[in-house]
Every structure is written in structure tokens, then in C-alpha cells.
């Protein structure tokens, strides 16, 4: 696990905004290379790594799907003063932005910058009190106007520059823990599988574009056609401002999500397994949409039975997200056990045309 913690700190130190995941893709490709039998890249840039099972071919397969992309900003225009106008990549509350240190990824290399609020007299009247909307915030690179205009072009990417920070009690702070903490779960799972046997093929999948279009999960689902899928994403941890009934305790295990993107029988199987192994999990419900890759993964091609594990995380979509690393460990152990237990008969348990456990026939 110590190894995985360092791996995670590396992951949250590289960029990889939605649609531009190359840096995190490269890091993962080398991290998974010794842990899997084959690696491929999808046409949209998702990483598919296969760890072969022991059963006779053709084998069933389980895909573990985590998105590797991160939210951030993009240059929309460079004005006469050399200040950068911004477009959001993914959902960002403009109220957390002023004063943030950022990294601008320009043609000639990375440049530091800071997000600023123009002075009141420079703002339209309706924007001059409180925090202005994103359209009125700027990034100042410190360069002179002509330099900035030479160095920066429309469409350049901007990521948060917050450095990883460990806190007492196994807490880790950083940007992009959504969803790199869950990629760490997957890496740790692959590590655990090195010393176990499993009948099914396992696809480790790091998807692109979750924060924008979910197309990574959709197209990888289509390409791989796994028999089953487990999506790992983050969920809200209890913290000031988070409504208590929608938030989960940190260090009480991953949440297991229940709702329409979840295959009900697969949920039960994972839940029962966690109970048997005495791995704590926290039941989580969503009425309509899980807000994860499962939304489109579930409906790829002819449909894929999907379960969703979530890691509780504080202050989501800010540059100071917090997770508890024990939750990563627990989720990985649960997944590894689940994978080891998959056999030929497993799919019979998921049939929706026979009564399930405890249901009337």
C-alpha cells in the first residue's frame, strides 16, 4: 500500500484534463505494464490493460473502470493586456478560483499563473460585488502583454498547481483525487491479483473525458464488451456544507451505490461478499443518475451489468480534495476477493428472469 500511496501522489502531480489525458495515460501505462499481460489504447485515448484469467477460452471478463481525466480550465482568449480569459473544463464553482495557483501548459512549456479578480472599477456593475463569474476572472502569467500573446494561444490548457499534501491519520490532500484516488484502487487491486488466481479475464480500464462527455466509458464498453463491469469513482464525504444525508464517513470503507445504473443482483453479490469478508462498506443510493462513467457504460452496445464502488472524498472539484487512504486499501481488497471468486456459474446468479434472493416468485 505504501507503494500505491506514492503512485497516487505521482498521479496527482501530473496533468491530464478531460480530452487531453496524455500525461496521466503515460504514467499509468508504465505503472500497469508489469502488472498486466497486455496494454492497449482506445481510439479516444483510454488505457485498456488485460490480466488474463485461468479458465479455458473463451473466458468471461470483468472490466474495472475508473476515469483518469481531471477538471481544469482552458484559454478562451488572450486580451490586449496579455491576460487570459477562461473556459471551464468540467464543473467548477467559480467561487473557489480567485487566488488559485495554476499551471499553464503552453507550446513552449509549462508556465505558472494565478487566477485573479480584476478591480471593481474594471468590472461590469453587476459583477463588482462578491465573486464574479468565470467570464470575468483572468489568469495572469506575469508576462508582458506581447510576451504573453506570443507564448499563449487560444485552447491552451490550465491545471491546478496544488501540491500533494499528507495529513495525520492517513489523509491525503490534492487536486484531481477525483478520480486518481480510484485509479489507485485499481492499481492496488492489480497488485493484489499478482499473488492470487482468477478464472475470468480482468480488464483494467482508465477512461478519458468522464468530466465532460462520458465518451471514454461508452466507447471502451463498446470495444471490450466485458461480461461485467465495476466502476470506481468518488463520492461526497461528510464535511461542513455537505448535506449529511448525502455524505459518507471517511475511513468507514467504500460506498456501494444503489440505483438505476446498478445491476441489482450484482449489487447484492458484492454486498454479500463484503459482509462475509467483514470489509466495511457504506450503502449509497441515487434516485436517477449515479453521476459516474456507469451512466453510459451500462448502455454501451447491448448493455453491460454494472456495479459502482465509491470512495468518500471531501471538497470535491476544488483543488483541495481530501481522501482517506485506508478506504483505497479496503476497496482494492474487496475487488480482488470478488475477482478471485468469479467462476463459470457466476452469471447465473445475475439473471433477472429468475427470482432473486429473498424475493417472491
Amino acid at each position: 500500500m505504501e507503494e500505491t500511496r506514492e503512485h497516487l501522489k505521482q498521479m496527482i502531480s501530473v496533468a491530464g484534463l478531460s480530452g487531453h489525458e496524455a500525461p496521466i495515460h503515460a504514467l499509468l501505462e508504465s505503472a500497469w505494464q508489469p502488472l498486466t499481460d497486455e496494454q492497449h489504447t482506445s481510439r479516444l485515448g483510454s488505457l485498456h490493460a488485460l490480466k488474463r484469467g485461468r479458465a479455458k477460452a473463451p473466458r468471461n471478463s470483468l472490466a474495472i473502470v475508473t476515469h483518469m481525466d481531471a477538471i481544469g480550465l482552458m484559454v478562451k482568449d488572450v486580451d490586449a493586456a496579455g491576460l487570459l480569459h477562461l473556459e471551464a473544463i468540467g464543473g467548477i464553482d467559480a467561487r473557489v478560483l480567485p487566488g488559485q495557483l495554476v499551471t499553464l501548459h503552453a507550446r513552449g512549456g509549462d508556465l505558472p499563473g494565478v487566477i485573479v479578480i480584476p478591480p471593481a472599477h474594471a468590472l461590469p456593475e453587476d459583477q463588482s460585488s462578491g465573486v464574479p463569474s468565470l467570464a470575468h476572472l483572468r489568469v495572469d502569467t506575469g508576462l508582458r502583454p506581447a510576451q504573453a500573446r506570443r507564448a499563449v494561444q487560444v485552447g491552451d490548457l490550465i491545471s491546478f498547481a496544488t501540491l500533494p499534501q499528507e495529513l495525520d491519520g492517513d489523509l491525503l490532500v490534492g487536486h484531481s483525487l477525483d478520480n486518481r484516488a480510484c485509479v489507485a484502487v485499481l492499481t492496488e487491486t492489480l497488485r493484489l491479483l499478482q499473488t492470487r488466481t482468477h478464472a475470468w479475464d480482468v480488464w483494467a480500464v482508465a477512461t478519458v473525458q468522464e468530466e465532460i462527455t462520458l465518451f471514454g466509458a461508452l466507447t471502451s464498453g463498446y470495444a471490450l464488451r466485458p461480461t461485467l463491469a465495476v466502476v470506481i469513482d468518488v463520492t461526497f464525504a461528510k464535511s461542513p456544507g455537505a448535506p449529511a444525508h448525502k455524505a459518507f464517513e471517511m475511513n468507514k470503507g467504500p460506498a456501494l451505490d444503489w440505483g438505476p445504473n446498478t445491476h441489482p443482483r450484482l449489487y447484492k453479490e458484492v454486498e454479500n461478499l463484503a459482509r462475509r469478508l467483514e470489509i466495511p462498506i457504506q450503502p449509497s443510493v441515487y434516485a436517477q443518475s449515479s453521476g459516474t462513467d456507469a451512466i453510459l457504460l451500462q448502455v454501451a452496445a447491448e448493455g453491460i451489468p454494472t456495479a459502482i464502488l465509491s470512495i468518500p472524498l471531501r471538497y470535491m472539484h476544488t483543488p483541495v480534495e481530501i481522501i482517506h487512504t485506508k478506504d483505497i486499501e479496503r476497496a482494492a481488497r474487496l475487488l480482488a476477493e470478488f475477482i478471485s471468486g468469479l467462476d463459470d456459474a457466476f452469471m447465473e446468479k445475475l439473471r433477472l428472469d429468475t427470482p432473486g434472493e429473498g424475493e417472491a416468485s
Partner: protein, 362 residues
Amino acid sequence: MAIRKKSAWKAPRLGAPELNLLERLSNASAVSGNEEAVRRIVLAEIKGLTDDVRVDALGNVLAVKHGRGSALPRVMLAAHMDEVGLMLTADDGDGIFRFELVGGLDERTLAGKPVWVGEKQHPGIIGAKPIHLTTAGERSNALTADALRIDLGPASAKKAKPGDWATFATRFARLGPSLRGKALDDRIGVATLIAILRHPPPNIDLLAAFTVQEEIGLRGARVAAYALKPDLAIALDCTPAMDLPVSDGRENTLYRSRLDGGPAIYVADGGTLADPRLVAHFRAVAETYAIPHQMRQPGGGQTDAGAIHKAGAGVPSLSISVPGRYLHTPAAIVRFDDWKNTLALVHAALGHIDRDTLKGAR
């Protein structure tokens, strides 16, 4: 378009057994995401009627009934099993639960209603603050789901849990020429599709899809159409009839559909521009056999066709709906005759489908 009339068309009958089935379907609780209760009824009803039946990864029931002959047109008929409803999302203790809406349920209709919780339909109520304790300002704001709770009573605190679904506790009833139920959208389509499977037209391969998750984005139909790969598709649904008189006496120009107008044929809704060749085919069949019908007013709303027509390399699609008032509230109302005419039109139109139906330019 000329339809060669085959004497008087013999449409399947709608009698006591069919009404009984619709009643069971409408009373069952099957909110989007958990269609188990309706799926069970459907599987039992169509047992032995088709050449193949399976339940897919999302829970759609896909049944195939081959016609007589080879290379017949593959015609998908879709009706959704799910209904709008509620999900319990948090346990406030003492049998009080927070909940959220599933699908486009009319939030204004929540307060002060009995509900059924879970598949076993445990009774509960959605309360509201006594009027004595509210201010005038408070009362001018709608009571939204956020401010309301489902109450099962302290002794039943363990009878439900977050993740359980709930529906309004409205029992099916006949109201003169009308039928009333909580989930006629779209159990009436489900019942229509079962009736057609009992009398399958021999000139087509019938691909019946009883779909899930229509009310939260046509999600079941999407994978069903992908799997079935039809040549053309018809969605059977229930469409709003907003045909009530306008308060100031002006003409109602935004009725969408009207009760007693017969089956509503779609040209355009929020999700689909119906294939004009199929629109023309259904209109021609209706006129040939003098089946009452109406054009649904183009506008918003969606049916499974919205997902089906975009599946794979595309599927010419059409929607046909029974008009219904007060959909997505505790009690929808439809006319029995509109249902009868819908079944007659769909059955006759299917009976006249051949390889030439889609021959003209779109």
C-alpha cells in the same frame, strides 16, 4: 399511399381478461430502475407465445415472434414497463424518510398523498406542515420534495430503507368510459403489446421489447434496439391530453392530444422526427378501415422511439400513443375506446407492413 383493404380488419378483442391484466399492471410498483414487479407479470403473460424470450443486462424483456415465411420485415414494438415515482434516499429515524423524484413526476402533487414503499407496497404517507403553522409567504412557494418526507410510522421504521422505491398508492379503477390508474403511462402500452403478441400478424417478424428506464432517459430502449436490430420500430406509449377548457374562454391551442380522439400519431416530439413513410402508412390504414385517430401536436415529450431511431445505423421509427390526462401525477385517466382504437390501428397497420412500406424516399 394506397392500402389494399383486406375486408373488415379483425382486431384483437379487449374484454374482461385484458382489463384485468391492465389493472394488475397499473397497480404493480415498478419505478425506473426496478421494474421487477411488472417484468414478472409480463414474463408470465407471454410465456409460450413467442419463439424466443430473454431478459437483458438492464432488465428489458425481449421477445421474438417470427411470422410465416422468410426475409420478413423485422418490426420492433416497444412499450416501457417503468413508471415515474420516488426513491427513499435517507433515513431520518423513527420511520421518517427523505426521498427524491425519479423521472418527471409532477412535484406539485406530492404533499398529502398515500404512497406504497418497496415492492411489497408497504403503506406510508407524504405529510405536510399544518396550515396553522405556515406563513402566507411560505405558502406561496410550492412544496418541493426537499421539504417533504415519507412517513411510515415509528413501528415500521425497519420496514423500509434508503434505496427503496415508492409510488403513489392509487388503485386502478373504471370510471364510466374511462380508466384511472397511477401508471397507465405506460402499462397501457405494455398491455397493448401483450394483446398483439397473442394475435401476431403473420407477415412480419415481431420483435417485442418491454423496456426499462424510459422515464429517466429512454435507457432500456437504447440497448434493446441495439440488440434486436429492427428494420423499423413502433413505440407504444401514453401521451398527455391537455385538452381542458381555457379559463378565459379562449380556444385551447396547446392540447397536445385529446381524449376520444383515438390513437395519437406522432410527427415530431422532443426526441424524434417520426419517419414520414410510417406516418403516412398509419394514416392510410386508419382511413382505409375508418379507425378514429388524431395527429399528436408536435412539441416536447419523448418516447422510446427517441432512443430506438438512433440505435446502430438508424431505425425508421414512429410513436403511437393512447391519449391520457394527468400523466405523472397520482392518477392518470384514459378512455377505454381510445385504447381499443389504438390496438385496432396498430394491429391493422402491422398487418399491412411489407418490404415496400419503406421503399419511398424518406
